[in-house]
């Protein structure tokens, strides 16, 4: 092992040593691999703003800065990375004959399952991959809108129509339809406000457009000024919720936390009265009288 | 070698100027502002391509580039020195056309301008007069056959003017040809061998100082009524 190997050795036994360079794969591997197998995770997982796994668990694992030198010194059997490896690093691995298992951004739940199974197989613990998937499926079932397994109690909001939601990310951009978060939103009972208007991945939505053509709920995934502007909280008929942006980046165990949060948001949105006001002009809570409901009085 | 201009024309600045200059003499180019003095000098130095006519050195057209630079030394009006070189370093720049360090020639040039004792001093520490002499040393270090200087005395006090003129006279005595653009008519009258007077781009006079700068000539070209006072070699000009 000293100075000779150019390529990682074949798995010794069924549980090869792994170095992960990406916070998404870090989180999955922390679930499916033994701590002794996981020689190192990425430094992002030690950063509370960027991590996709519990910080306490992450800090018990060694982290690298992502340089080839560090990976070589750890001499793992398998190297796992995301699709956006710096060009020089990727070429250095290639030059040195080190195979890197690459995992791209997860666009939907099927790919999420594929990646989890692939990582579990790499770690030699396929059964743990299935266990993680089962947990994810259970969380999805609990959070699913418009279907209500009998053995769980279902609040009334679970059976209503889909709520028009705008998921607004840092930079004022919206996710496209072919993203994991878009599918989770649909799963938990939201309709995409941006997709209905033909906006695709990365499209920019300015604050004024949100005010002029508001959704039923604004889900702000970021803490910059535009997303947290006070005017958003004062809009009539428009709910304002926050979402931790770290729930957007990865699949794996993050999906559990993401759907739980989305279901929580969905549960807080009451059914609108039929024909009721939506997105009316701002009113001052202290002095203006509340709007009178329409006289027709048709129930929900 | 003779330096000559034949029917030199530069659009809007010179019209059909022909002169012939011999080495070993100091010639001044005089004239009112805008007469084309600097333009004529730069044509003779090969820095401006004339629109008509040509400049001849020893009967042949001016050679290009380095060969011309070895024969003709040009001292521009504005003596900028971008970097704080030593005096010797500045003078050594004059050896660039020859491509050698020419330490002997540089030392001789510094001695000729009486700056040998300041050879290692930075140029920024020199006085105005010393700086003008250092810039002249740069030209002398190249040992050119012709020295063309554009108003070299402009920023100097009288003592330094006379000192610089003395250096130029020594260079002429050693065989170089010297052409100066001068504003000061009295200096021209007293210290040079020949004068060219330009009037709005044309050659108005070409002869000895006494001929070219006669009171009639001054009246015609400068539009001034003037009188020369004093003795030859120490004349002063009064104008009314």
């Amino acid at each position: 092992m000293w100075g000779c190997s150019q390529a990682p050795q074949q798995a010794t036994g069924e549980h090869p040593t792994i170095v992960s360079l990406n916070p998404c794969t870090d989180a999955i591997l922390a679930e499916v691999a033994d701590p002794a197998q996981l020689l190192a995770i990425s430094h992002y997982s030690h950063d509370p703003r960027a991590t996709s796994m519990p910080l306490g668990q992450a800090r018990r694992l060694h982290a690298t800065g992502g340089t080839v030198e560090e990976v070589l010194a750890l001499d793992p059997d398998v190297v796992v990375a995301g699709a956006f490896l710096p060009p020089a690093t990727a070429q250095a691995f290639d030059r040195l004959g080190i195979d890197v298992e690459t995992f791209g951004i997860v666009p939907d739940l099927a790919e999420n399952a594929t990646q989890i199974r692939r990582l579990a197989a790499l770690a030699g613990h396929p059964e743990r991959g299935e266990a993680l998937l089962a947990r994810i499926d259970e969380a999805l079932a609990r959070a699913r809108h418009d279907a209500c397994p009998e053995r769980l109690a279902c609040p009334a909001s679970r059976r209503g129509p889909k709520v028009d939601a705008l998921l607004w990310q840092t930079g004022g951009i919206v996710p496209g339809e072919a993203t994991l978060i878009a599918r989770l939103l649909a799963h938990t009972g939201f309709a995409s406000h941006s997709a209905a208007r033909g906006l695709g991945q990365g499209a920019y939505v300015p604050l004024e457009r949100v005010l002029a053509d508001p959704p039923q709920v604004v889900i702000a995934a970021g803490s910059e000024r535009m997303l947290t502007h006070p005017v958003l909280r004062g809009l009539v008929g428009v709910h304002y919720e926050r979402l931790d942006p770290s729930l957007l980046y990865c699949g794996g165990p993050t999906v559990v936390r993401a759907v739980e949060r989305l279901a929580e948001i969905r549960a807080r949105i009451p059914l609108p009265p039929a024909g009721g006001p939506r997105g009316g002009p701002l009113r001052d809570e202290r002095t203006d009288p509340p709007p009178t409901p329409p006289a027709s009085g048709r129930g929900a | 070698m003779t330096l000559a201009a034949r029917a030199l024309t530069v659009a809007k600045r010179l019209a059909d100027v022909s002169v012939s200059l011999e080495p070993g003499r100091i010639t001044a180019i005089c004239g009112p502002n805008g007469a084309g003095k600097s333009t004529l000098l730069q044509c003779l130095a090969g820095l401006i391509e004339p629109d008509g006519g040509q400049v001849l050195l020893g009967g042949a057209p001016l050679p290009p580039g380095r060969e011309r630079a070895q024969r003709i030394g040009y001292l521009p009006q504005v003596g900028e020195v971008a970097w704080d070189l030593s005096v010797a370093g500045l003078a050594a720049l004059g050896r660039l056309p020859h491509g050698d360090r020419g330490e002997a020639q540089v030392a001789a040039a510094l001695a000729a301008v009486d700056l040998a004792h300041l050879a290692l001093r930075p140029v920024s520490t020199l006085s105005g007069g010393e700086r003008a002499r250092a810039l002249l040393a740069r030209v002398l270090a190249g040992e050119p056959g012709w020295i063309l200087a554009d108003e070299p005395l402009a920023a100097l006090d009288l003592a330094h003017q006379l000192a610089l003129l003395a250096r130029l006279r020594e260079a002429a005595d050693r065989g170089a040809g010297v052409v100066l653009v001068l504003h000061d008519l009295a200096l021209a009258m007293n210290h040079v061998d020949g004068v060219l007077v330009l009037d709005r781009g044309t050659l108005a006079a070409d002869g000895t100082p006494a001929e070219a700068l006669s009171e009639d000539a001054i009246a015609r070209v400068w539009g001034l009524t003037a009188r020369w006072l004093g003795e030859p070699g120490a004349r002063a000009l009064t104008a009314s």
């Binding site: 000293w2 030198e69 | 730069q42 660039l96």
Partner: protein, 319 residues
């Protein structure tokens, strides 16, 4: 002068290069660290050489640039070649740079070549230095604007961050491929800049006097453009944008020379090599979560240095 610059910097380099091999995020113990020989031979050694090459190119380009513009505040970026090369590299990200290890550097060199051609075309025949400076600044801002546009059009945050990170300049994980690309180009560029030496010396006296000394302005400009394009272009192609070296190094070297621009070029190359090597070692050993980026480290050093320089110049009233 008391200390000759070339022997001095050569000696310092001879000392620094072996020491640089010890610097890294991994403490190398030859007997126990896995892959120690690979780390040394395939990562640290080429990286040290690349630091020397990039530093030498930038140092020489800075010295030549300051000589040409007769301004001690000139920096190789002013010609617009570094931004042009960076724009080429950013374009390669769009075309899937991962397809080949050569794609990104080749695109960067094409970008540098484009900037050079544009510069020659605009400043061109008249070869005046004022026009040349303005042309360079225009190219720099045009390239910068196009780069910002390309970055803003990135499909997702990760792609964008990848481009931006690369632009910040680093030598992390570079290897012999980059050395083989940059070494001949940088060497050729330094040779061309050295050939421009006599012309730069003559320029000390101003453009008319320089021409009277037989300097061809067009030839001098061509040498500057080609020399800077090769050195700076190849540097950006392998390392991203590394700034301040070309600005700082001639100032450090000038007091040790007779101040003629030609005498500055080779010593600035050596001093630039030393500076980038030392800066890169610092980047590698600082105990941060990951390596500090070289471009950032040099900016952190360069900006205070620049300020000190301006204050000193104001005191001396040399400007």
């Amino acid at each position: 002068m008391m200390i000759r610059p070339i022997p001095l910097f050569t000696l310092l380099l001879v000392l620094a290069i072996p020491l640089s091999l010890l610097a890294g995020r991994v403490w190398l113990d030859p007997w126990t660290t896995p892959n120690a020989a690979v780390i040394l031979a395939q990562l640290r050694l080429p990286r040290a050489l690349l630091a020397l090459i990039v530093g030498a190119g930038l140092g020489a380009a800075g010295a030549a640039m300051q000589g040409y513009l007769r301004n001690p505040l000139a920096d190789p970026g002013l010609f617009g070649i570094a931004p042009g090369a960076a724009l080429g590299a950013v374009a390669s990200f769009w075309f899937g740079y991962a397809a080949s290890a050569w794609l990104l550097p080749v695109f960067a060199l094409v970008g540098a070549g484009g900037a050079m051609a544009l510069l020659a075309l605009i400043a061109g025949r008249s070869a005046g230095i004022a026009l040349f400076t303005l042309a360079g600044m225009m190219i720099a801002s045009l390239a910068g604007a196009l780069m910002s546009l390309a970055i803003s059009l990135a499909p997702n945050a990760f792609a964008m961050s990848e481009i931006v990170t690369w632009l910040m300049g680093a030598l992390t994980d570079r290897g012999w491929t980059e050395v083989r690309l940059a070494a001949p180009l940088t060497l050729a560029g330094i040779v061309l800049l050295r050939l421009a030496g006599p012309g730069l010396d003559a320029l000390t006296l101003g453009e008319p006097a320089a021409r009277s000394l037989g300097v061809s302005p067009a030839r001098l400009q061509a040498l500057l453009i080609l020399g800077t394009g090769l050195t700076v272009g190849s540097g950006v192609a392998v390392a991203g944008i590394v700034g301040f070296v070309g600005l700082i190094v001639p100032h450090l070297v000038r007091p040790l020379t007779d101040r003629r621009p030609s005498a500055l070029i080779v010593p600035s190359a050596l001093a630039g090599a030393l500076l980038v090597l030392v800066a890169d070692c610092v980047c590698r050993v600082l105990p941060l979560v990951t390596e500090l980026r070289l471009g950032i480290a040099l900016s952190l050093v360069g900006a205070p240095f620049f300020l000190w320089l301006l204050l000193r110049m104001r005191r001396e009233a040399w400007l």
